[in-house]
Symmetry: C2
Subunit: 207 residues, 2 copies
Amino acid sequence: MAKKTKEEALATRTAILDAAIDIFYENGVTGACLENIAERAGVTRGAIYWHFRNKLDIFEALHERLDLSIMDTILKDLENNHPDPLQQLENLCVALLADIENDLSKHKILSVFLVKCDYSGDMAVFLDRQHASKLKSIALFSRYFERARQQHHLDDNTDPHTLTLSLSFFLTGIVHEHLRDPALCNLDHQAPRFMRQFFKGVYRRST
Amino acid sequence: MAKKTKEEALATRTAILDAAIDIFYENGVTGACLENIAERAGVTRGAIYWHFRNKLDIFEALHERLDLSIMDTILKDLENNHPDPLQQLENLCVALLADIENDLSKHKILSVFLVKCDYSGDMAVFLDRQHASKLKSIALFSRYFERARQQHHLDDNTDPHTLTLSLSFFLTGIVHEHLRDPALCNLDHQAPRFMRQFFKGVYRRST
DNA sequence: ATAGATACATACATCCACGTATGTATAATG
DNA sequence: CATTATACATACGTGGATGTATGTATCTAT
């Protein structure tokens, strides 16, 4: 068999990752075997062991893909200076949720991470990793609330930390429930309602 | 080896289930092998295969344990007729969350269900099962909101279904995040704050 | 009391997935 | 243009978990 050019090698690498998403999605992380991933990618296990050390290494690579994507979305949104930061954040959350419904690849990866993955043993390290990126997104969310506080859109007795965590919990819950049972609610349509319900309790009460 | 009396047989059965919780918690569901469970329970795999058909059968038995426990708590609480149903529900949620922090066994089982389990292949059926019990708890939650609506504690334009689902999402998110990273927040102490944040957006706005 | 059912322990066969070692044809490099 | 590193494919050895088959001692029932 022929050695490929560097571009082709990178192509097989991403082909392996794409195949891994599918196989993980179908069989779960622990249930997926490298043979199936290789087959789906049109290569052999040899190719996988060339590009990755083992299954966990593949999983880690998928992690980076998603993390960077989400962070990117939030950071770009933060560059805008919407006159109403709370409304801006609400819109962002709706957009993030709708994206999960519409972007099939993202939907699959999140499904793997949240319902088709067993975080024990060697996989436990990824909990720390996810925790780290969670803290990052929380830090970004708090920037919105900080802007809102400066514009006196928040009650004075609202604890920003509690607020930020609550939003994170709410989003997490929506995503989890939706991935576990996509029929429960359509995020594309109903995300605005849920976010509206949450933000009703955020705005300052009229005095 | 001696045949046990019926009582003793039941005792080994629960011993196997108790051991399964520990082993599942330590190694994950797919990572756990029956040999380890048997060892922890002080029996051999023979005993397990006598009481259960396979690993999934054990998992199913653990399911019933937890489901019944939670439903019981809510149903008993619903028997009380608190003058402020929203306050009652808020208190109930706080109690449910605190219980997760304090009841080690419950904490372990939930950890297994939500972060140490891979719902694919044969395990996928349990998503339906969890969905069913989720619908049940949602139905119970909506009873509180119905009472609140009758007492005009809710805004007229509040959609009860959205509200109930939102609460369910919020609780789910808190539990998930907490189990994935217990250090993120202490439920025993902070659950009241989070639930307060949520219910702030539920009560009717003063006109 | 004894015959059968019960509650396991032990032993066996099987298979799948993993990691590694090796082979090899081609790109990259000087 | 020769050499070396690359990018895989193929082949091999290994172990661990599973399900089942069988053995057996005691409880239970008549």
